[in-house]
Amino acid sequence: MLQSGRLAQLIQALRVLPGVGPKSAQRMAFHLLQRDRLGARGLAEALLEAVEHIGHCGECRTLTEGELCAVCANPNRDGTQLCIVESPAEVFAIDQSTGFKGRFFVLNGRLSPLDGIGPDELRLDLLERRLQTGEVREMILATNTTVEGEATAHYLSEMARHFGVRPTRIAYGVPFGGEIEFVDGTTLAHAFNGRREV
């Protein structure tokens, strides 16, 4: 082992990043130390600051610096529509590209009994309390289209009905610009069953 001590430690630490194996970690470490020490210091400080100050929004549980995230703190957002997503990354994706003006709730996971994740582990009681206030009229279920995502959507739709809220599920099927010939069978079947009048 050529690398030892702090260098080895740095390489090991860089491997926490997704997609970074031993080889890339080593390249990154050498790059930072040989060519960009200032950048390395900046990176270290930014990481520390972020870990220290970024937490979860008290309302929707997305990542935020303050008590509330920008969406929850904005009084102009429509509180009658609540969009449910699995992770904070999806809040950004939907917010940037859909023109949705309602509010969000982030599950930070999905119901998955075989992983031991049930309603209690996802803290769905927080969502129940939100529905109890009576402000929400429509719950938009934007969980992933995996079996667990579907199960989660169904569970939440039953919860919504229990509280007199209208549950809706995002549509899925042939991707935009996609060619039907190349779409997989399951997706195509869904697209076909979910057809609508034009």
Binding site: P18, G19, L111, P113, L114, D115, G116, I117, G118, P119, D120, V147, E150, A151, H154, Y155, E158, M159, R161, H162, D184, G185, T186, A189
Partner: protein, 242 residues
């Protein structure tokens, strides 16, 4: 170096999948000839060439893999038919079956009968048969296969045939013994109904559910099944015994 064992296309289902490292999947597999085991699908999540789309629960598959210790590594996967389209409560029931298999079957033990029964149960869940009967039928078959089969035709003490209108106390690993009505006593009609795979009437369905839950809980040990929690808001729950 030890040569890996190679297995050519075998009938199997994915019971559960979780992401593993960056682009791989760790799968709980139930195969006809090799029972329950774990399999790594390397690069399954990588773009278009990945096998992620086909490695779905409730889809009949043919899988090939090599094994040199645990876990085995997937080498080929193709769909063997159409996916069982389960939605809503039926999907929850599908999870329940999967959880039962993972929790109760010992790994690497072939159980062809249960494999066939699993496929039939998924079929029944898809076509929307009565959920209770489907689940009880599967639970009984699973226990039977594991050697924990329930005694449903004779009184364990007297050896007399079970009478529909009499009451019995069901002792786990002993069987039914006639007793008075009340408490946890089960009507004979419930035992006979379970034996014949045909339950009628709300009371009987409920009693059968209670009995089976008690027996299954016994074999699971302390940890309860997670998939039951999914039914909290279901107006009619196949797991609600209160």
């Amino acid at each position: 170096m030890m040569q890996p064992d190679r297995y050519s296309l075998k009938e199997a289902f994915v019971l559960h999948r979780r992401n593993f490292r960056e682009t791989s999947l760790l799968l709980d597999i139930f195969s006809r000839d090799h029972g329950i085991f774990r399999l790594i699908a390397k690069g399954a999540l990588r773009g278009r060439g990945g096998r992620s789309g086909v490695l779905q629960p409730f889809l009949p598959l043919s899988l090939a893999w090599t094994s040199r210790g645990e876990p085995a590594v997937l080498t080929a996967a193709e769909a063997r038919g159409n996916i069982f389209e389960l939605s809503g409560k039926n999907l929850f029931c599908g999870f329940y079956l999967n959880e039962l298999l993972v929790r109760l079957l010992p790994p690497h033990d072939p159980h062809e009968r249960i494999f066939a029964c699993y496929g039939q149960s998924l079929q029944r869940l898809q076509t929307g048969g009565r959920l209770d009967e489907t689940l009880r039928f599967f639970e009984l078959a699973l226990l039977e296969e594991l050697g924990y089969g329930l005694l449903l035709d004779y009184d364990a003490e007297s050896g007399a045939e079970i009478q529909a209108e009499r009451y019995y106390a069901y002792g786990i690993e002993q069987g039914p013994v006639e007793c008075g009505a009340g408490g946890s006593a089960v009507r004979g009609s419930v035992l006979l109904g379970l034996r014949n795979g045909f339950l009628t009437g709300h009371e009987e369905i409920l009693a059968a559910k209670r009995l089976m839950r008690r027996v299954i809980q016994h074999y699971l040990g302390g940890r309860p099944l997670k998939s039951r929690d999914l039914f909290k808001y279901s107006t009619y729950s196949v797991f609600n015994i209160e």
